[in-house]
Every structure is written in structure tokens, then in C-alpha cells.
Symmetry: C2
């Protein structure tokens, strides 16, 4: 899975910490997702999508 988190975050001028707070997760979690260390849970993906006003599919791309 790839994601556009870093770009979306930059567009809003959010730090990883800002985003973490808004999502209710730790900064390390945001960092790990951005760096592709793991994928968010489905509920977290929904929160992210809702926060940025995009569909999950617009933010995360599944790669076989």
C-alpha cells in the first residue's frame, strides 16, 4: 500500500504531531504510516479520509 499522506499533510501545513493529535494516535504512528512501515487500521483510514475530505481510495493505493 502506498499513500499520499505526506503531500496532503504538507498542503495543510500540518506537522506529524498535528496530524497525530487530530487523529487521536501517536506521532510515531503517523510517521510509520507515512514511511510505509505499516498500514493504518480500517477505522484509522476512515478518520484520515474524513479529515482530509477525500475517499480512502484517493489517499491509499493498494498494490498487489
Amino acid at each position: 500500500m502506498k499513500n499520499r499522506l505526506k503531500v496532503l499533510r504538507a498542503e495543510r501545513d500540518f506537522t506529524q504531531g498535528d496530524l497525530a493529535d487530530a487523529l487521536g494516535v501517536s506521532r510515531q504512528t503517523v510517521n510509520a504510516i507515512e514511511k510505509g512501515k505499516f498500514d493504518p487500521s480500517l477505522p484509522l483510514a476512515f478518520k484520515i479520509a474524513s479529515l482530509f475530505g477525500h475517499s480512502i481510495e484517493e489517499i491509499f493505493q493498494y498494490e498487489n
Copy 2:
């Protein structure tokens, strides 16, 4: 999170076992997701969406 898995599965006349095979997970996992015992991972949600030809948002609904 709620989901429309049971209905979509019924529409295609799939058993839980059929769906599990198509998704590459165990039947118990399909059952547990259907019954709301837990949510699928994001990659699995993508697989489900792709299999049924719907967006993730059309199949899974986030409830605060």
C-alpha cells in the same frame, strides 16, 4: 464499523467459505467480520471492495 458483507455475499450466492477462499483468509475471519467481531485490515478491505466491485465506503460504514 458496520458493513454490508452479508448482503453482498448473498447477492453473489457465495458461502462464507467461498468468500474466504476468494480473499485468501480463513472462513472464521469472514464470519467474524460479518458479525462485527472485528474490522478487516485496510489491505483486506481493499480486496473485499475490489472483489465486489464497490468502494470501501460503499461496503463499510464508519460509526463514531
